[in-house]
């Protein structure tokens, strides 16, 4: 798949949107404005963006507790997301779901789930439905190195291969599950090797290189759309912040943090665009200003929105 430079400014905008949203959420949370807790995606933007740029509205993603990046990259509106974080009635889930449970199937967000690894069987079902209906859609399911050890992954991989489903497994290997670094939770280093055990292909790539993510994913998606079945994509990355806010990150060294800071996907992409004449500094600045305003407006929208009425408690438990 040849890299189409036309998509890059859009990808940059999306990655910057995710980062700005996450850092703003962090600021608001530390100021005591948001209930619950946050698992922030900052640092992994190239993966969500590189993957979701390929997807249509009726392709589905299944996301995780660390899913704001996926949701935004898939077309989630930052104002409705912010309102959901604020637990307002105007949020995606009317304040009933919160950070980890945002869904909008109309734009292909089948849902985020707070149970690590639970997304795999759900994604299996969604891909199954697509094949059942004879559609050329794909389903992408995200998980981390932490989630890769759950039995759900095993069963979903086996069944998706067996039924030859259009399911892309995207493993964001950020090297740690909460505070447990990879070598304390699995013997292997490259999770992609597991695909062979189920009868399909697995690839490992640089998750902080938006172009590489875009290219590798594009091939897997095209294969799936053409009836080629599932693929496992492992993207090596780094989450800039802790597991949740308040995580003191005692399991990380200053050297590691400094090393990964040099590989931050966002300045990497802007540098690439500038050096290759794909965009100039003025254009980059314009994108960034636009996004900063968008996120500020989203916060304003959330603040001004009403909270759900107490009578909403029992609404929506069952379908009619």
């Amino acid at each position: 798949m040849k890299m189409n430079n036309d998509v890059l400014p859009g990808m940059y905008e999306m990655m910057f949107r995710i980062r700005t949203f996450e850092m703003k959420a962090r600021e608001l949370f530390l100021a005591g404005q948001l209930p619950g807790f946050l698992h922030l995606y900052a640092g992994q933007e190239a993966i969500a963006t590189g993957v979701c740029t390929h997807l249509r509205d009726d392709d589905q993603i299944v996301s995780t507790h660390r899913g704001h990046g996926h949701l935004i990259a898939k077309g989630g509106r930052t104002d409705k997301m912010m309102a959901e974080l604020y637990a307002k009635n105007t949020g995606y889930c009317h304040g009933k779901g919160g950070s980890m449970h945002i869904a909008d199937p109309d734009i292909g967000i089948l849902g985020a789930t707070g149970i690590v690894g639970a997304g795999m069987p759900i994604g299996l079902g969604a891909a199954f439905a697509m094949k059942y209906r004879g559609q050329d859609n794909v389903t992408v399911v995200f998980f981390g190195d932490g989630g890769s050890n759950r039995g759900t992954v095993h069963e979903a991989m086996n069944m998706s291969a067996l039924y030859n489903l259009p399911l892309i497994f995207v493993c964001e290997n950020n090297g740690v599950g909460f505070s447990t670094v990879q070598k304390l939770h699995q013997k292997i280093e490259d999770i992609s090797v597991r695909a062979a055990g189920y009868g399909f292909e697995g690839f490992t790539a640089d998750g902080n290189d938006a172009l590489e993510v875009y290219e590798v994913t594009g091939r897997a998606i095209e294969k799936a759309r053409n009836g080629g079945g599932p693929t496992l994509l492992e993207f090596k990355t780094w989450r800039i912040l802790g597991h949740t806010l308040g995580d003191k990150e005692l399991y990380r060294t200053a050297e590691e943090k400094a090393e990964w800071a040099k590989k931050d996907p966002i300045p990497r992409l802007s540098k690439h665009m500038l050096e290759n004449g794909i965009a100039n500094q003025a254009e980059v600045d314009r994108i960034e200003q636009k996004i900063i305003k968008e996120i500020d407006d989203a916060v304003q929208f959330a603040i001004e929105s009403p909270v759900p009425d107490a009578s909403e408690l029992m609404v929506g438990v069952y379908a009619d």
Binding site: G91, C93, H101, I122, T152, Y318
Partner: protein
């Protein structure tokens, strides 16, 4: 349909619905051979590409249901025995039951989970005989149905398939090959409505599933002794049709709840609490529960008999209340 097994009656219901709606499909272990009790006999040939045998992967099977239901298909998931479903508790509790609410009403889960439950009285032992309905009745977001008659099995299966919620359809193991009658054609039993299987005036026996058949048998024995017991078959375990229960207790003033599930924290406790809260004035005697002993179900036939909630035990408990 006369003198057919409960499995065949359920088959009739599913067959009718699958002809009506092409979004309905069946997935589970060994379903291509027709299911353990002929619930899908002939379907693999008649509905090509709609019957999916799966690996032994309950988590995967339920996930298949979750994702496809969220995408507006209508899966029927065959779980073999209810005991086997326990490994996939997360898919039911944290996912299926929660999606609609958590996602602000945007995603619905029209799925039916078929699971066989209860003792067969031929030594299936601790892991193949359980009645675990209470765990699921404790869960907002799903419904639980448990027919005890052939007609109800048919009517509730049709209702379950047409309902847009996740439904746990409990098939009574020891009745699945029993012969009985059911109406032909489109016969619907509403979910959430109990049925008075036998009318009476002296005490109310609330039950469900195969033990309800024991309760009816007990009531017939008691009738010969001049005791008229009313038997209320819940049919739906969640939501409970509490109005029917209370109406019956108001009439008879005595309540006995009989179930095969372990008595401690079983569904009988919920019914007893509800009647104690709202029907205290109707009661002339303390509420009595008759449920499974607090131990795993044993293999030995002698011990199994000791465990089993039989018509005799129900009749004896009833006599002691009068």
């Amino acid at each position: 349909m006369n003198n057919v097994t409960m499995g065949e009656v359920i088959r009739d219901a599913i067959h009718m619905e699958m002809q009506r709606d092409s979004d309905i499909f069946v997935a589970g272990e060994d379903v291509h051979f027709g299911g353990m009790y002929a619930e899908y006999l002939g379907f693999f040939e008649e509905f090509p590409n709609r019957i999916f045998p799966t690996p032994i992967s309950e988590t995967g099977i339920l996930g298949l249901g979750l994702g496809s239901a969220a995408m507006k298909l209508r899966p029927l998931l065959c779980m073999g025995k209810l005991d086997f479903m326990m490994v996939a508790f997360d898919e039911v509790i944290n996912q299926a039951a929660k999606f609609r609410y958590m996602f602000g009403g945007k995603v619905e889960m029209p799925m039916v989970i078929q699971a066989n439950y209860g003792m067969t009285l031929n030594g299936q032992a601790a892991q193949h005989s359980q009645s675990l309905e209470a765990f699921f009745c404790h869960l907002p977001g799903i419904k639980v149905v448990a027919p005890s008659t052939h007609a109800d099995a048919k009517g509730l299966m049709i209702s379950a398939i047409r309902d847009n919620n996740p439904i746990l359809f409990l098939q009574p193991l020891r009745l699945m090959r029993a012969k009985g009658d059911a109406p032909d054609g489109e016969y619907i039993v509403p979910i959430g409505k109990a049925n008075v299987r036998k009318e009476g005036t002296d005490l109310t026996i609330v039950s469900w599933g195969p033990v309800c058949c024991e309760a009816v048998s007990a009531a017939e024995t008691l009738e010969k002794e001049g005791i008229n017991a009313e038997v209320v078959d819940l049919r739906t375990l969640s939501p409970i049709d509490f109005d029917t229960v209370l109406e019956s207790v108001a009439k008879t003033s005595r309540l006995l709840i009989a179930h095969e599930a372990v008595q401690q924290c079983g569904l009988g406790a919920e019914i007893a609490a509800l009647v104690a809260e709202e029907g205290m004035d109707y009661l002339d005697a303390p509420i009595k529960r008759l449920g499974g002993a607090f131990c795993p179900i044993p293999f030995s036939p002698v011990l199994e008999t000791e465990y089993f909630i039989s018509a005799d035990k129900i009749a004896k408990a009833a006599r002691e209340m009068l």
